[in-house]
Every structure is written in structure tokens, then in C-alpha cells.
Symmetry: C2
Subunit: 357 residues, 2 copies
């Protein structure tokens, strides 16, 4: 089949085609990085959880759902306040349909998942609207451990897919992008992107910046996921192909990674069309501005779903997360499935979840 | 080259030859399981550490040495009281010479290693001479998490090598073997195997056994490593070849694994000739009694070393540990190196360590 029918390519299209050609017959490994920033506790900043208290359980619960098909730290799977499911539903459908193995990495989650996971000793990030996210030495620790984990994972596969779950992460990503000099407009898990609120938080965070050293910038206005995944990318991209699976957060990772160095020839961003078509953000141009790596975008075709909970993704809820886009792209490359087939499987999983709950 | 020149095969020799044929051109992954039993605090029971207090640091320090080439939780590498180096030196030489990737798994170590590792939430085992090692539910947890980790690791390789580090582990292994009905004589890290002391501890432990349920036996007289590695074996052997890299402890793993089920066709034990030639133990016959899997034994040729610290292994110190034997076998299969070449590399590493210390 012609894979390109399923995907839109942005940036360096030739690189995108080469990337796809190289990995389509190879082995994939999905690494799921869970983290936390207290910035998500600012009211109205995220929908990644049914209520304020449950947000902290979303990353470990997503990891448990990917592995077990249900959660252990909470009763149901992670949802928006009005019951729309986690994008992890898309990730799980994608990984299972293609038998792509996955590992969970705890890079500063407030709660540990109830399954075996890779421990990094990182603590969660502080609320950047009121204080520094972490110390410079915590940033170094995150980069160093990210490099170790990235090298190990990459030595076990041909294409390392990196997804993340960090509620409130688009706000810290915006702060990092702006302090690194990029005129970013970022996406949100909320249809009416709370741009004003994000900008207030980011502006007060940026006032604390007193050095243009990238580590210091991450320490003051970032979160633990950004330096850890950047470290993973910098070592893994020397060994294997790397697909950064995500939207806004991965542009912040890319911006910081371009300061510490990584192999552009082995790197691509894989995301959903809900991100690349988001007019409240400038994702495609932002990636181009930061680095000469391609963006591969997939339309999961959820707007055709019989379930409102799945159509919601195409209507601006969540849009991306838990590495959904990159996982769908990888599963389509491995199985040859198209969007119609993916929708069919996602609806089956949705039905399983919402009749069994 | 003819690999069999380097190895002695015991048990089902035809299975051993098939095992070697299947894996020699494949991918290897070394998983290093670190754990702890307070049984090692009984004076005179182990040499796995320079003194009583430092024994608890040996498993994490071995993990750090394998990864960094030096330790972080202690100053030097793990040694016997009189300065003989950890068998991890042999493992590191083997894995590096063959570029075999490795992952550290914390299955009840008292101290966490200072590197990224797979966390299982297991606590260390209690001293079986005075109390139960753990609860039945901790045993179930160890088996369940072992199964999860084993399946993940096996899906990333063709041959999963499993090594362990648990000071005092030969004593808990002896207790498990005897309670499961095997007339075991086990090896020791000490040349004059403290058989009497081990038997005293085992006898008092066996008095607490009030059920022949395997989980209950492990809970009363075992340690966390045994059920965890048995769980790994049971799931991994369905997916890939598995080489249990070790001596006495691995016979206890095998005895318990044969109760919970595993695929004999995909399993072998890989160890050193210092174990298979140990007259104070009955390793070869014990393996045959327990299960119809082959034993592959390698002579690392250390008796020809110019360094007394390396010759010591051939004189009965340590003998095995940190998966040394299975790692050497795997590295020889992957690189085609023989014992002479291995000795040369091990001496280089020994020289690096003891001139840099």
C-alpha cells in the first residue's frame, strides 16, 4: 500500500519519506514518559482529569490502562470532566493492533504507576507561575538519566517512539519555547484554548529568568519531562530512528534538544491532524523554525465515529497525548492498516471500555 | 569456529546444541536482577562484600559498575574482605566485548542503584533463620511483576540472559530446594563452603513450613529474587530463548518455576566451570533432577591469569554471580572469542580497575 495516503508530511518532505521508508519494515518500541508539573493545579489550565484532585493520577493511570486495559490507581480510565476518554485509548488501540511493545518511564510523576516501570529518581516540577520548576542540578540529572535510558531503549529497536503524559505540560512548554526565543502559540487539551491564562502564567514565569543558559531556563520555567525526553532523544538518535510522538510538548523538547545536540537525520515528529490543523497554535511552522526535522501527521478519522466520545478528539478535545499520533502512524506502517480500519478498532476498544465500566 | 570447544554441555546435550545453534546469530539482552535477603547478615554466611555493613551495597554497586565502569553508592567496586573483585568484572568484560545491552531490575534490593532501573515495588527478604522471608501476597506480587517484565524484555530480543545479585542467596536457595524435595548441596562465595552454618539456618527455617504450596514455601524460606526471576522465566520462555545465568540460585529459580510453569524447550542454564566442577555442590545432577533443560558451562580460563585477583575465581572464590557465566557464553557466541581472548580482555579490565583505584 502507499503509506503516504494516510499521512500528511510537513517540513522536509524528502526526509519524511526517507524516515518512513527506513522504519516501515523495522522493529518499533514505544516508551511512555510520565511526569508532573504543579502548574496543572492552576484552575482552568487543563482538562487532563475529571477534577483538580484526579489530575495527578492521570499519568500513572494512563500507563496502567496501556498495560492492563484498565487502571489500578483510579477506578475508570482518565477522562475529561464531562467524560471524554484519554487519548491513551488511541495509543492502546494502535500499539495492540501492531503488537508494538511498550515500557513506562517515571520521570517525575507525582504518583507511581502500579506496574513495573523505569525509575529515574526525578521529582515532579513546581508551579512555574509562582516558583522555579526545579534546580539546575535536577535538570542535569534529568538530561543524564534521559541519555542513559535513550541509549538502552534505542539499542533494542529500530525506531524508538517517545510519548509523554504531563498535565499542564503545554503551559510549561510555552514558557520554555518563548524563553528560548520562539514565538510559539501552543495547543491545549481544552477546545477554547485558555490562551490568556497561559500567557499570564508564562509571563510571570519569564520574569524569573536571569540567564540564557538552557539548563537554567528549563529549571526556572520548564518541567522534568522536557530535559529527560531531550536527553533520551540526544542519545537514542545516535543509535536508532526516533519518533517524538506528540504535539506542543514535543516542540519544547525539540527546542531544548537542539541546545544539547541530537541527530536530526534520525528524528521525526509524529502527531495527529488535530494538532497540525489547530489554528490556535502554529505547530508546523514552529517545528520548522526549531529544527530541520520532518513532521508526519495522521488523521485518525475519528470525526466519522458513531461515538461522541471519539468524535470529540476531532472537535478539539485532547487532540493528542500519550503519544497517540506517533503510535497510530507506527501501527499503520507496521500493519498496513488505514484510518478506516483504525477507527473500527478504536470504536471496538471504546465500546469495550464504556460497556464494561 | 566450533563454539563447543569453549563449552561443556550437561543434561540434554542435544537440546544444548540446538539452543546454541538458535541463539548464536541472534540478539542478546542481559537483565540484571538485584535483590536482598537479611539472611546474608548472619556472620560468616557470605563473602559478597568487604564487611557486614557493605554487603547491602553490593547488588546496587554491581549494577553501577556494569553500567558506568565504577560505582556510585560505594567508592571501590564490590570485593571480598581480602580484596578479590566482584564476578561483575567478568560480566562487564563479556557484555562490553560483545556490545550486549543490559537493564537493571530492582527486585527487593535494600539500596536502590544510582542509575535508571526497572522498579518492581518489592521489599527485601527477611532473615529466614528467625522469621518468614515475606508474605504469600508478596510472593504473588513478585511472580506477577516478574511475568510482566519477562514478557516485555523477551519481546525485545532473541535471547534473554537473566543474572542476579543477592548476597546470602545460596542459603535461601538451599532452603527452597530442600523444601521442594530436592537433596541439594549448594555452592558458596567462600572456598570453604560454610555448609554446617547453612544447614543450621535452613533447618530452623524448614521448621516453620506448614504447607506444601510452593508460594507458601517461598514466603517462609525463600527470597524475593526467586519468585521474581521464576515469573520472568515463565513468560519470557514463551516468547524468546532464556538463559538463566548463574549457579545455585538459578537451580532454586528452576525448582519454583517448574511449579508455576515455563517452556523447557526455550530454556538453558549458563554458568562457569567453577560451579559445574564444584565438588561441595551437586549442580549438574540437581539441574537434571529438577527439569529437562541443558546446562552450558564455560571455563573462563582465569587460572592462567597473571593477576591473583582473577586466578581466585578458579580457586573457589565467588565462582559465579552477576550472571558471569551466561554472559561469557553469550559474548563468545556473538563474537567468536575463545577463553584465551576473554582472559586477555578480563585482565585489561582488571588492570584498569586496580590501577585507577
Amino acid at each position: 500500500m502507499n503509506f503516504l495516503e494516510n499521512f500528511e508530511l510537513f517540513g522536509n518532505v524528502e526526509k519524511a519519506q526517507n524516515f518512513i521508508e527506513t522504519i516501515k519494515s523495522g522493529r518499533f518500541l514505544f516508551s511512555f514518559v510520565i511526569s508532573y508539573t504543579e502548574t496543572c493545579e492552576v484552575p482552568g489550565i487543563t482538562f487532563a482529569g475529571a477534577d483538580k484532585n484526579s489530575i495527578q493520577f492521570t499519568p500513572p493511570a494512563d500507563a496502567e490502562y496501556l498495560h492492563y486495559g484498565y487502571c489500578k490507581t483510579i477506578d475508570d480510565i482518565p477522562m475529561t470532566p464531562d467524560g471524554k476518554p484519554t487519548p491513551g485509548l488511541l495509543t492502546k488501540t494502535a500499539l495492540e493492533s501492531a503488537s508494538i511493545p511498550h515500557l513506562t518511564i517515571n520521570a517525575g510523576s507525582k504518583i507511581s504507576p502500579q506496574l513495573p516501570f523505569i525509575e529515574t529518581g526525578l521529582s515532579f516540577g513546581k508551579n512555574i507561575s509562582t516558583q522555579d520548576a526545579m534546580t539546575d542540578s535536577q535538570v542535569s540529572h534529568a538530561v543524564d538519566y534521559g541519555r542513559i535510558v535513550g541509549r538502552s531503549m534505542a539499542s533494542l529497536t529500530d525506531c524508538l517512539i517517545i510519548g509523554e503524559s504531563i498535565p499542564g505540560g503545554t503551559t510549561t512548554a510555552l514558557a520554555v519555547l518563548r524563553s528560548l526565543g520562539f514565538d510559539a502559540k501552543v495547543s491545549s487539551s481544552i477546545p477554547n484554548n485558555p490562551v490568556e491564562l497561559k500567557n499570564q502564567i508564562v509571563n510571570s514565569a519569564l520574569e524569573r529568568i536571569d540567564s540564557d543558559h538552557p539548563y537554567s531556563i528549563i529549571a526556572k520555567v520548564g518541567d522534568p519531562m522536557i530535559p529527560f525526553v531531550a536527553g533520551m532523544l540526544s542519545s537514542a538518535s545516535d543509535v536508532s530512528k526516533v519518533m517524538l510522538a506528540g504535539g506542543t510538548q514535543m516542540t519544547a523538547v525539540l527546542a531544548f534538544a537542539s541546545k544539547i545536540g541530537f541527530n536530526e537525520e534520525n528524528t521525526a515528529i509524529g502527531t495527529t491532524s488535530y494538532i497540525t490543523n489547530d489554528d490556535s497554535a502554529n505547530f508546523k511552522n514552529l517545528v520548522k523554525e526549531i529544527s530541520d526535522i520532518p513532521t508526519i501527521s495522521v488523521n485518525p478519522g475519528l470525526k466519522n465515529s458513531q461515538y461522541s466520545g471519539l468524535r470529540a478528539f476531532s472537535e478539539g478535545f485532547a487532540k493528542e497525548g500519550v503519544g497517540a499520533g506517533g503510535s497510530i502512524i507506527s501501527s499503520m506502517l507496521k500493519t498496513g492498516n488505514d484510518s478506516a480500519k483504525f477507527l473500527e478498532m478504536a470504536e471496538k476498544e471504546y465500546h469495550r471500555l464504556f460497556t464494561s465500566l
